[in-house]
């Protein structure tokens, strides 16, 4: 499992929550360069990712993520631990 494959898994979740069927994420995608990714969408994204990937984010670590690349790295780490 590498960063790129996790990002491809994230694509449909983001497309669904942000209602953008054509959206393709990259490592550098973040709240300021993805349309509609506001604090509200962020909580929905987190909940959807947790549900679909069967992981749980700690409240404190959500703020430390700067972009989709870092989110993917954290998901890899969490999957390895579980």
């Amino acid at each position: 499992m590498d960063r790129e494959s996790v990002i491809r898994e994230l694509d449909p979740i983001f497309q669904d929550i942000l209602d953008q069927p054509e959206l393709t994420l990259s490592s550098e995608s973040n709240a300021s360069n993805v349309d509609g990714w506001d604090s509200l969408a962020h909580v929905n994204l987190v909940m959807a990712i947790e549900q679909q990937m069967r992981i749980r984010f700690a409240l404190g670590e959500l703020q430390t993520l700067k972009n989709v690349g870092e989110m993917a790295d954290l998901i890899i780490k969490k999957r390895q631990r579980s």
Binding site: D38, S39, G60, Q63
Partner: protein, 473 residues
Amino acid sequence: MLLNSFLYLFLFLPVVALGYYYLGRAKATRFAQAFLLAVSLAFYAYAKPEYLPVLVGSILFNCWVAHRICRQPLPGPRKAWLYAALTINVLLLAAFKYSGPLLGHIGQAVGLGIDLGHLEFPLGISFFTLTQVMFLVDCYQGFAQPVSLFDHATSVAFFPCISSGPITRIAELQPQLHQELPGEDRARQACHGLFLLALGLTKKVVLADTLAQIVNVGWGSVGHLSCIEAWTFSFAYTFQMYFDFSGYTDMAMGSAWLLGIQIPKNFNAPYLATSISEFWQRWHMSLTHFITNYLYTPILRSFGKATLATSAVATILAMTIAGVWHGSAWTYVIWGVMHGVALAVNQIWKRRKLKMSRGLGWLLTFLWVNATLVVFRAPSVTSALDMLKAMLPSANLADLTTLLTAKPPSVTLSLTAVAVGIAIVFLTKTPSWARAQALKLNFLSVVATSSLLLLSFLYLNSTSAKTFVYFAF
């Protein structure tokens, strides 16, 4: 001990900075840390030694619980330990901050007609409680690991942050207690810290304290103000609050840098924000981080799905809790609700993709923040309403009688300094800490730091040190 006192500036801080540096350099980092813990506890006990057991008790309890939580293999007991500890922390805070007024209200309601008094609460209790609540949640969720009692105590009691923040994660501070910066980096950071300390001290004693004298006159005559006076006094408090709190934070951060330690940033040009959500990303940033991650997100998650409606409820609830955290007065509750409602409206506005020019956005944000600070500063809800009413155009539009009695001593110098300070707030996006970080160490920076310190000492010498606004929380 006040950060803006001669005792702190000429004795405590130099002795601590030199002691910590030389013990660290002698490869005695554990001694250096023990020294830091001892002086932090002495700093805390200086004003009211009787409250030291509250801080020590809170540290011992929370450190012990953090270890208990992480040792529990089963999720049920882990959760039980967390919830019990959170309840005890909230009860401790409530006992000191809210029990007096609450019992007073109950006494009135049941017709006892007696004043049940008001407990004076320990300095910094709101801040060291939040720091440790955050740590317990992080430990429970596996985001942080419990540390030794020595490290826990040194991080929580760290003197630059203990009285009014910034709210600092134990996990951020603790590793820095064991690191050794190369001598050159340490010296550079200390010089930047000294400049930041000078900037903060100037903001506090030259600007905030001058404005405080004007503001106090205004609030002393709140029922008799003209429209122009009411606006002037309200703006004066808006700037007093910024210079006071950001000045304190600069001094705290500068003091920490003198020891080679980084703490979170708390302000980033908040009065240039063009929306209320941007304002909260720039104002008291360490509290915003706590509200967003440890209040708003779990409340919203508990609803199951984040919609505009549930988000609005979560926002208003989280900001109301933030208001109550400041104190038991209704004015703080209303202040929190006002910010919560504005944030909810802002979110709906953005979701509907409605447009507003940046200029109008800035103006509305600034005026709303100004109105919320009227409520925040008011001694009662009635006074707040009186002040807000006086700000509406009325027959008494431009009488300046009260304003003219609010002249600070050495009017020209003080008001020129305040005018320059306010101009800097509006004309520069660079916050003090970024300015200090980018400082080139040369003759000019020495002159700038010395001049700011000298000017501040002159002001300090002419008046007794005034406490920081946020020491009341």
